[in-house]
Symmetry: C2
Subunit: 178 residues, 2 copies
Amino acid sequence: MRRDLIADAAIDLVAEQGMRGLTHRAVDRRAGLPEGSTSAYFRTRKALVEGFVARLANQEQQDIAPDPDDVAGSIARTIDSWLVERNRTLARYAAMLEATHHPELKSIMAHSPREQATAIAKMLGHEDPERAGAHLTAFLEGLLFYRLVGAGSTVGPTPGTEESVRDLKAAVEKALRP
Amino acid sequence: MRRDLIADAAIDLVAEQGMRGLTHRAVDRRAGLPEGSTSAYFRTRKALVEGFVARLANQEQQDIAPDPDDVAGSIARTIDSWLVERNRTLARYAAMLEATHHPELKSIMAHSPREQATAIAKMLGHEDPERAGAHLTAFLEGLLFYRLVGAGSTVGPTPGTEESVRDLKAAVEKALRP
DNA sequence: CGTCCTCCTCTACAGATGTAGAAGACTCTA
DNA sequence: TAGAGTCTTCTACATCTGTAGAGGAGGACG
């Protein structure tokens, strides 16, 4: 579908050049479509932004939901996969920052990782799951950010490798302790 | 100094409108200066970006360095102060994302929180300070991000209050445990 | 075959943006 | 006070950007 093709090109553009690089014509070029295509499918720039964010949100639906027998391991693998899909994750951060001054985006991003994390915390028998879930979320977000754009991006193991998953798993285990 | 005044206006702009809002003329207006001023002090846009990032980096110099008698508390207070200075922190995140596709920025941001955190970890007698420092950094970054733009921004206590510091301190204490 | 409808491509244009340089205002020294 | 040097403001212009609408290609359906 043309619409998704365009949204995907937009995601790559945002990841590689930032929100500033996201223009109708740049998306046309990136997607190899004739000039005017993006403008036809997303008439305004706001529509274009919401379009790529919606696409991001859709593709994230499945990922979560850890295996109860290996919670830390499955979380670690999920985070590692986000590191591998670098562009999507970078675009997601750009979108979150954008949502700060463009609130509609918040509702588009169906990101309920907090409830997810709370559920996990509950599952593990924490006494204050509400709060423990918040802390867990914070830690996981931080781990991802640290390895993707923070200091850990230059030092840590290469995403997608066994070593990367092992490193992440050790960190997650620590965070899961009651 | 005009230069700093301009850089400060740029920081606010980036925080409030994103990198896309950062244009020479917009900075002029924001700073209440006549049109052309920003362009005179930072001829190219690249110079403007590097200028505001350098200003951010300069102002961060003092903040860190926790009190050894109350490590968790002082870290919590530092994080809370970053939440209060919302614009500066938002601009810093925008800059970190920007540094992804504009590497010069990385060297401008003298951000060595990793070494800081490693030092703290050592101080507390962790067995693997290198790794523990990385985890601590990740957790602190995550805590900040979570409360500033993540799910915690809508749920958590108001930054700058006693409650906020208490909440943060509890989280930090947990992260500091060996 | 003709007609309608949808999808796609092209072109237009007002306004914004990056960047440069000219000219004026100001400051300090001799 | 005169002059040199710097700081500040203004203006210009090529290019990019957002947005709109006209028209064409191609298929579906009668």
